[in-house]
Amino acid sequence: MVNPIMLILIPLLTVFLINLVNIKWPKFSAGLSFLAIALTTGMAFTLLPEVMQAPIEVVIAGTKAPIGINLLIGPLGLMLSLIILVTSLLVSMYSFSYISDERKGMYSGLFLLLIVGSLGMVMTGDIFNLFVFFEILCISSYILVAYQRNEHSLEASIKYLLLGSIGSLFLLISIAILYRGLGTLNIADIAARVGELPPSTRIAAAAFFTIGIGVEAAIFPLNSWLPDAHSSAPSSISAMLSGFVIEVALVVLIKIVFSLFAFAALFWLLAVVGVVSLLIGEFAAYRQENIKRMLAYSSIGQVGLILFALSLGTEAATRAAFLQIINHAAAKSALFLVSGYMIIRTGSYQIADYRGIARRMPVSGFVFFLAVLSLVGVPPLFGFFSKFSIVMAAVSSGSTGATVLTGLVLLGTVVEAAYFIRVLQHFYQREPAKAVTAARSERGAGAESSIEAPIAAMLPVLAFALFLTGGVLLLGSITGLADAAVQDLFARLVSVLA
């Protein structure tokens, strides 16, 4: 049997090894990190059958919770871990050719730390440990956002850093409140005894916690860093940040809200805020000329949708939200990765400069097309099923408020379709833009030749596209896992105060 703690330790150990390797042979670091992620992914898959039977508890330092720290890997944690690992495996493959400057050794290490942070966050059973991994996640994303070291990325990074730090400050305060009140840090233990807290204290802890993690989870209005950070980071990192980092924070937030702060009012607040973020994200994306900024705003919208579904608090809606997380991870990662090479080839971020690009980058264009349709929710792509189940679940929860919010969600979808179709049509225009005609690939071929990204970068993108089209066939097993995750989450639901 594999000890689940290895999922965290192997990448972490590899980080230190990469730091060692970097001294002499930085070019091996990318391969090393890829191997580590592949190994970890394999291990996570082998854990699957066991976790579906019963959650695994991993004791650390030989002391049982609540005295020491423990990891608790249930279906929910493992599902998120798999999303994290598979996405980052593909993205790290893409990075082989995409990140080619002399600092790529450091990039691989930071990339792994981003994964370590996310994995730790979803697996830990201790609230302070959660904070520590949250910080690892945040700090590695601050650095990776600044990776390109140009004016924009530095500005985005410092803004992200300061806002994120305010968030972690609030998180710390929430932990202090909980520890003062209950004298324990284990989440399950807190959940069992949370009733001992005076209501006002519990409210304060809930507010601080929600806002604290909410900054990283990009809940409106705490998401102001997101468009800057996601559009200024290297595209591979944008794919990770959009693909799973926000979602991980979101699910952890919901998990804690479910187990510690299950106030009906908080659920309603989050549902409304989710729809508001969705509308703001989609409407703002409608007006973007910069492709990565548009994708970033679209992420705000998608996260709003996921938040809305999660905070409906019904089993069907939560399952739908998990499906949407998977869809968004695949589709948005593919979009960011594809746009990465478009930016490299044309040297521009402006959508107007991509006119006719699909004729010179046919595979990229096609993947972009598929991913867009999946995000909008066109059958028979994966996105249709996730969006469909969200709406079904929201409406069948039976309240008028939820139905009205669903109507607004659908309005957002219309806007989303409008701006994505505009971009797609741009890609397929017959007369190419100047930047497209001038673009050359590494081999430097002529104006008519393909400027497609290298194969190593296209394979992962194609894998995402394949998932979006063929994922429907896996829908049964994915839904099975999502169902188990929902059960896992709902088992934590303590009480809903009126």
Binding site: F128, V132, E135, I139, Y142, I143, A146, R149, N150, E151, H152, L154, E155, A156, S157, I158, K159, L161, L162, S165, I166, S168, L169, L172, I173, I175, A176, Y179, R180, G183, L185, P227, D228, S231, S232, A284, R287
Partner: protein
């Protein structure tokens, strides 16, 4: 409500005050470095709040020496360990923030946040 005026409550009120002061600095100051200082002040407030959560009436430091018998109440060691972690994390963030600010200053030659608005909308 009668507030018992012990060291514990004074520290709590003080930490809350530091928090407010730190946040006020972040909101009102426009200089990036000052904002980072504000963040540090608030961080100190949060740390005191955290370490104070392990306060025990008349407790000593949780270190077993020959001078202290086991009968003596000791304060909770866990928050002290937590606060160590929190301080180190705060240090890491501050160092990184300052490095970013240095780099940014070399490009923009300003530290005024209202002027660093290359990314908006």
């Amino acid at each position: 409500m009668m507030i018992p005026l012990s060291i514990h409550t004074i520290l709590n009120i003080g930490s809350f005050g530091l928090l407010v002061i730190g946040l006020a600095i972040i909101f009102t100051k426009r200089n990036l470095i000052t904002m980072v200082i504000g963040l540090n002040v608030a961080d100190v407030g949060a740390n005191i709040l955290l370490v104070n959560a392990g306060f025990v009436k008349d407790g000593t430091a949780p270190i077993f020496t020959t001078a202290v018998g086991s009968a003596q109440a000791m304060s909770d060691p866990v928050p002290q360990a937590l606060v160590l972690t929190s301080i180190v994390i705060g240090f890491g963030i501050t160092a990184l923030a300052l490095a970013l600010i240095v780099k940014l200053y070399r490009r923009r030659t300003t530290l005024d946040v209202s002027k660093i608005r290359g990314l908006k909308w």
